[in-house]
Symmetry: C2
Subunit: 208 residues, 2 copies
DNA sequence: TATTATACGGAACGAACGCCCCGTTTGTCA
DNA sequence: TGACAAACGGGGCGTTCGTTCCGTATAATA
């Protein structure tokens, strides 16, 4: 989850950067505040989605709005940073299941995780559903990675005869997005969650 | 779909109202404009949901913003009026299927209609998903009617053995909401729609 | 046609919110 | 510890949008 953010605009006499990755070392307080902002954003976006006022995030982080903007050029950039982190976690999880001995179980288990995440993290489903967000996340690498990882799990499950043949990874992700949204509205209790996931999962199994 | 809107605040010397239903007769131009506003709102809310600026609706209706407010006290009231109309249509449709000879077919057919509507009418799914709307629609009669009508179709289908026993009407409506949202994001082509509906429908059938 | 209640339109208002500016504070390094 | 660059914070600006106000236009009625 390394950010591509680079502070400053490249002033005249920039000291050589020690890490060599194009990002200048941040001052101690700046690094601390940046972390606080990210953490606050993670919590706040999860609860209320992109709609939350940026001031709320700043207040929760214990910094001023200006500080948020020094670290992230726009509100959407901050949102992106948070969401990309979430996606990356999912990608890692999906990839760790690639070699599972039970492809069907791995696939359905991952779906369940996906939905659980979506129910708890509003920003995640908003990002997946593209809820009124420009967010060139569509062109982001993590999203491609996620789709690819899902496609791989799906393909293996299909080869194993655990999943019907007429669905693609995009279908699956859309269904999970929809399920998350439905559950979240529904109140989000875990019984309902399980029932919904079971229904969609059953629908994904091969037609008898 | 009779509105409960009543113009004026009941001045001192109000002439006896001819229709006797508590609403005073509107002037011809007022009645015409009201219809125009409703029609414009229907189209505009369907396309863009509640997020659309009210001025856009007024412009499309060919009236000023003030005129919209004379007929509907708030933007949300207008939204409600539109959504209630849509719900009522669905209720009528569901009720007409009560006596169907094939309960399973009737149930699944209605679900398909529900999703189709949701995909095309953004306001409908927003209302069903409660997307950031206070909208005491929750306490509205039509919504109760709809839930009840769905419950009846569902119950018959279950008695007929066409639908698994462990789901309720709320689950079904949530799933359809989710499917609509997923499809709409997905691009909304009718192939995808059919596939999604088929998957969820299959998931709703009795476990083998 | 004269009169009047009713309705109209759109300018104006105010609240919310993203974003920027700039005077002040703080970390860093010699 | 002194000097300076980096970072801070929060007030303020500009925009968007819901809502209201009020001078003007018009349907209804006699």
């Amino acid at each position: 989850m390394v950010s591509k953010y680079s502070p400053g605009a490249g002033g005249a006499s920039m000291p050589i950067d020690p890490s060599g990755d194009g990002t200048k070392a941040l001052r101690a307080d700046a690094r601390r505040n940046r972390a606080r902002v990210l953490e606050a954003a993670r919590i706040t976006f999860a609860k209320d989605g992109l709609a939350v006022p940026l001031d709320d995030i700043a207040r929760r982080a214990g910094v001023g709005a200006g500080t948020v903007y020094r670290h992230f050029p726009t509100k959407e950039a901050l949102f992106e940073a948070v969401v990309i982190g979430r996606f990356q976690d999912l990608v890692d999880e999906a990839r760790s299941l690639r070699g599972a001995e039970d492809p069907g179980g791995a696939f359905f288990g991952f779906l369940s995780r996906l939905v659980e995440e979506g129910v708890v993290k509003k920003d995640l489903i908003e990002a997946l559903a593209g809820a009124g967000i420009d967010l060139d996340l569509a062109r982001s690498q993590v999203l491609r990675d996620l789709r690819e990882a899902v496609a791989e799990l799906l393909g293996r499950a299909q080869q194993d005869g655990a999943v019907r043949e007429d669905v693609g990874a995009a279908d699956v992700m859309a269904l999970m997005t929809g399920a998350s949204l439905a559950i979240r509205h529904h109140g989000g209790d875990s019984d309902a969650t399980d029932r919904m996931v079971a229904i969609v999962s059953d629908g994904l199994r091969p037609v008898r």
